[in-house]
Amino acid sequence: MEKLLNDFSIGLFLWQTIIFVALIFLLRKFAWKPILKAVNDREENIANALNSAEEAKKEMENLKSSNEKLLIEAREERDAMLKEAREIKAQIIDEAKGQAKVEADKMVAAAKEVIKNEKKAALNELKNQVASLSIDIAEKVVKQKLSTDDKQKELVNGLVEEVSLN
């Protein structure tokens, strides 16, 4: 301890203190302040850049999700439209079928009517034909039967018998 105190140089201590304190102030003005400021500024810049990048990323995600939503909506709309179209198609077909049936029924009915009328006409004609034919035949038969007097008598007798029987 005695040696340490004895070796302690007052001059060196004073110079060292003066130089060191001056060095602190010099370095503070010319080095530390600008350096720390530059480093701080850069760190802030980096932090800001990172933040904005993060925000951009979030925005992108939002956009992406909204895009997806739009896509899903569009798909749903398309499906709905397709379904509707299918329904309309079925409806149209059904309607067409119904109409066609009605038309066909009408036609069938008309045809039936025509057939009925034709049939009636044909029958009437047939009846007339048969009548005239019968008259012809009857004429012929009568003509034959009444060709002789005997036969005429016989017929009259026959008819008389029939009447008397009634």
């Binding site: 302690f8 007052i10 060196l12 010099l26 530059a38």
Partner: protein
């Protein structure tokens, strides 16, 4: 025989490690060595010569001598009632000028019976004191290093004007600056108050680190192994701590909250002592670590000259190399510890009540 020698040298290392111990008998025997050649000297004389070299290496001097005879003079500044400034070459090597000379120990002495002012006699009222404010080798190194730091970091600051990205020296230095800010200042002092201590912390870190490194060069310019330098650094820490301290700090010293009354009275002197012990420990730690490193390295080199054989030369050279690498780490570590503890003390001084 070899074993006996070896144990002797191990003892020598141990003796040298306890650097604060009494000086050896080197002084009584010096200058004898110059008359004999190295091989003619006895083992004792060799040892004392090596001790002398070590002491000389650790000591401040009045001229800047890189090796024997190669160097330049520095100004001697003396106050003994009047200011005397002259070149150290006028008082070196036995010359005397204006009543002063440098003796063979390397100390500036008066030829007119005046006593150099020292810590031991400064306040003793002794008359005929002279004050030595010379630009010694250590002052010169501190000046040059300060100039270097201003130029280096001034240039680094300029690099940021062009671009925010570090370039050149800033690339290497910026991580250290940021490390001191983020790992030393911020956690120890606190997010809101660290800024005003940054200038000191950065300056002291680079100052101590670079001076420690400069001390490792073979130029013999170890400044941080001088107690006056570390005392000055510790004093600045003490002053900053004391003058920026808040109410909470003082209340923890004089009236410790949260303990019973008798404990408060007992703790006050202890805490008061602690105020001074903390920076004192900074001073001793840096001084002791750097001095010890130098002494051990020089002792190992000295052993080569004591053994004077190839085996010793190889063994102790490689041991010195390993130790030098360790000292390189210690140079940074001690700067870090000094800065770290200073930040810790500042943090305690401005800690808010919680």
């Amino acid at each position: 025989m070899v074993l006996k020698k070896l144990s002797l040298f191990v003892l020598l290392i141990v003796a040298n490690l306890s650097f604060a111990s009494e000086p050896t008998n080197a002084h009584s025997e010096e200058h004898h060595g110059e008359e004999k050649s190295w091989s003619e000297k006895t083992q004792e004389e060799k040892k004392s010569y090596i001790d002398q070299v070590k002491e000389h290496h650790l000591k401040d001097s009045y001229n800047f001598e890189i090796t024997h005879g190669v160097g330049f003079s520095l100004p001697v500044i003396i106050w003994d009632g009047e200011l005397k400034i002259f070149s150290s070459s006028k008082v070196m090597h036995g010359h005397s000028h204006a009543g002063y000379t440098v003796d063979h120990h390397g100390n500036l002495v008066s030829t007119e019976g005046k006593t150099k002012a020292k810590m031991t006699n400064l306040f003793s009222g002794e008359e005929d004191l002279f004050f030595d404010f010379s630009i010694t080798k250590n002052v010169f190194v501190v000046l040059v290093m300060s100039l270097f730091l201003v130029l280096l970091f001034g240039a680094m600051a300029k690099k940021y004007r062009k671009s925010q990205n570090p370039s050149g020296s800033a690339k290497f230095l910026e991580p250290i600056v940021v490390y001191i800010r983020d790992e030393i200042a911020r956690p120890n002092i606190g997010e809101h108050k660290y800024k005003r201590y940054m200038s000191f912390l950065l300056t002291v870190f680079f100052f101590v680190w670079f001076l420690n490194l400069a001390g490792m060069t073979p130029l013999g310019i170890g400044v941080t192994n001088n107690i006056a330098v570390t005392f000055s650094l510790a004093l600045v820490v003490f002053l900053i701590t004391t003058f920026t301290a808040n109410k909470n700090y003082w209340s923890h010293i004089f009236w410790m909250p949260g303990v019973p009354m008798p404990m408060r009275i007992m703790l006050a002197p202890i805490e008061l002592l602690g105020m001074f012990v903390k920076p004192f420990s900074l001073m001793i730690r840096l001084y002791a670590n750097m001095t010890a490193g130098h002494v051990v390295v020089m002792s190992l080199i000295g052993l080569i000259f004591l053994f004077q054989n190839w085996f010793a030369a190889g063994a102790f050279s490689s041991l010195t190399l390993v130790l030098s690498i360790l000292e390189l780490l210690v140079a940074a570590l001690q700067a870090y510890i000094f800065t770290m503890l200073a930040a810790l003390y500042f943090g305690a001084a401005v800690e808010e009540h919680h």
